[in-house]
């Protein structure tokens, strides 16, 4: 199996077991290049487990999985170079400054000094953070922090960026600004793989999958899902599917 250009993530019969517990039960789906793919599910439905495998952080028990054209079994290092990752829980180092955080991540991905300098300046300019670039992360508001974290996660122009509940606890305006940033990233050709508990955010995705107890129960465009489940919004779709 080779990952085609159109399918940046290709998953076939992915199974992950912890002892006798099946966290991921034969997941089969693909993510198209350049789309925003919403990965929804109740707590404990197996989202995090699947995401860790796709990011090359853990091995699946079985199944064929290609991420950005690389096999998750023996090309994990290559995968890691081609992806970006951001989560609500861990994004930036609190005790480093804005600028130090950017340079740290750029350095990790092996960007040259000159490139770092110009792109750091561009990034700060675009986010309007130039005046606080020497402030510690812990001193800046959560909304700015999350926007910065996202920018850092795509600083090295990854093929895919994985976002794990990126907007938890953020105020409603910043949340929307964040999603506009996500849209902008797709214009640069970056594929976005995102989880969220805000159901209105599911509407912003091109396609959405909903996991229930380790399986993908539904996968379609938001409009398609609302039609199939005769719902007015994604919240109703989710409640119909996940409520057991």
């Amino acid at each position: 199996m080779t990952g085609t250009l159109e399918h940046i993530i290709e998953v076939r019969d992915m199974v992950k077991k912890f002892g006798s517990f099946v966290a991921n039960d034969r997941l089969t789906f693909h993510v198209e290049k350049g789309e925003i793919f919403g990965f929804l599910g109740a707590n404990g439905a197996g989202k995090t487990t699947a995401m860790r495998i796709l990011c090359g952080l853990s091995y699946p028990s079985s199944g064929e999985i290609m991420v950005a054209g690389h096999n998750v079994y023996h090309e994990r290092e290559k995968i890691k170079r081609k992806i970006g990752y951001m989560s609500q829980k861990f994004s930036l180092y609190d005790d480093l400054t804005v600028s130090e955080n950017i340079r740290l991540y750029a350095g990790i991905y092996g960007l040259g000094r000159k490139e770092i300098n110009t792109r750091e300046a561009q990034l700060l300019e675009r986010l309007g953070l130039t005046h606080i670039k020497n402030r510690l992360i812990r001193e800046i508001p959560l909304g700015w922090k999350q926007k910065l974290a996202f920018s850092v996660a795509i600083f090295h122009k990854p093929a895919i960026v994985f976002l794990d509940e990126p907007t938890g606890g953020v105020d409603p305006i910043t949340r929307r600004q964040f999603w506009e940033m996500i849209h902008d990233a797709t214009l640069e050709g970056i594929t976005v793989f995102v989880t969220t508990h805000y159901m209105d955010e599911a509407e912003y995705c091109d396609r959405v999958s909903i996991m229930v107890e380790g399986r993908i129960e539904a996968l379609d465009t938001p409009a398609g899902l609302k039609q199939s489940y005769e719902s007015r919004n994604m919240n109703e779709v989710f409640l119909k599917l996940a409520r057991t």
């Binding site: 508001p141 805000y198 912003y204 409640l239």
Partner: protein, 313 residues
Amino acid sequence: MSLILDHIDKSFESVQALKQVNFEVKEGELFGLIGPDGAGKSTLFRIMASLLIPDSGRCSMLGYDVDKEYRQVRQIIGYMPGRFSLYMDLSVEENLAFYARVFGTTIQENYDLIKDIYEQIAPFKKRLAGRLSGGMKQKLALSCALIHRPRILILDEPTTGVDAVSRREFWDMLKKIQREGITTVVSTPYMDEAELCDRVALIQKGSLLAVADPSALAEGGEKLLYSLRSGKGVYAYLDQIRQLEGCRYAWLFGDELHVTLRSAADDAGVKKVLDSWQDDSLKWESIVPSIEDRFMGLLQEESDADSEMEEGE
């Protein structure tokens, strides 16, 4: 009044966490404190739980001052902190029994109060709390906060990070608790939950933006909010809408755009432009703002005021 917060100020070093926070909660009310992370919700809840003393202002619970009469306050409140704060290495049952003991009661004594909630997690009562799913943890924490039949229940962000299904169930439980006559104050960053409260306070950067019941909040302000839908998806229109003369703000809102006009008179002009875009699936209509719309409106008015002030300087 069950709970009175009288012009509370609280600072941590150089950061002012709360500025003149002032509201009251009536007996038996389900009161929501809505605001993003870092707005000062947790600080306010810790003051109510007698864990922090305000720099100025007064807070009283059922007439007991949280500073001087904290012992009495601690008898009558049930507190659920923002972070899951039960013992991960104790089982569900052991956690509950421990908190019952701490409050000098037993699980049996108030079992009828927690029965509905506890029965949902009872099948796992031998499981360690650390191994529960997010939703079940919340249910256990709520059971523990209720076990001594408090008169006031204060829940700091009980639904943060919890999926939509568990959140819905959790609010059903809060409604039931309310029927038992327990006054409940709950904070949340999810705007949609505000509609489930009797009254809400909107908070941002330590200041209250508004205190009202949800429907009154929605009716306040001029009717300038419109929704735009399209069969082709609305994101593509966002920038164009923002360029329009009559558009004050425009934001994504689920599968719609929510557009605030500068004045009611701008409606006709916008409609004309929309027609010229030749998309038959476009749907433009005046709507009643939700809490989230109101909150965003208040946030923007505030930031507009801030930038005007900066310009004035």
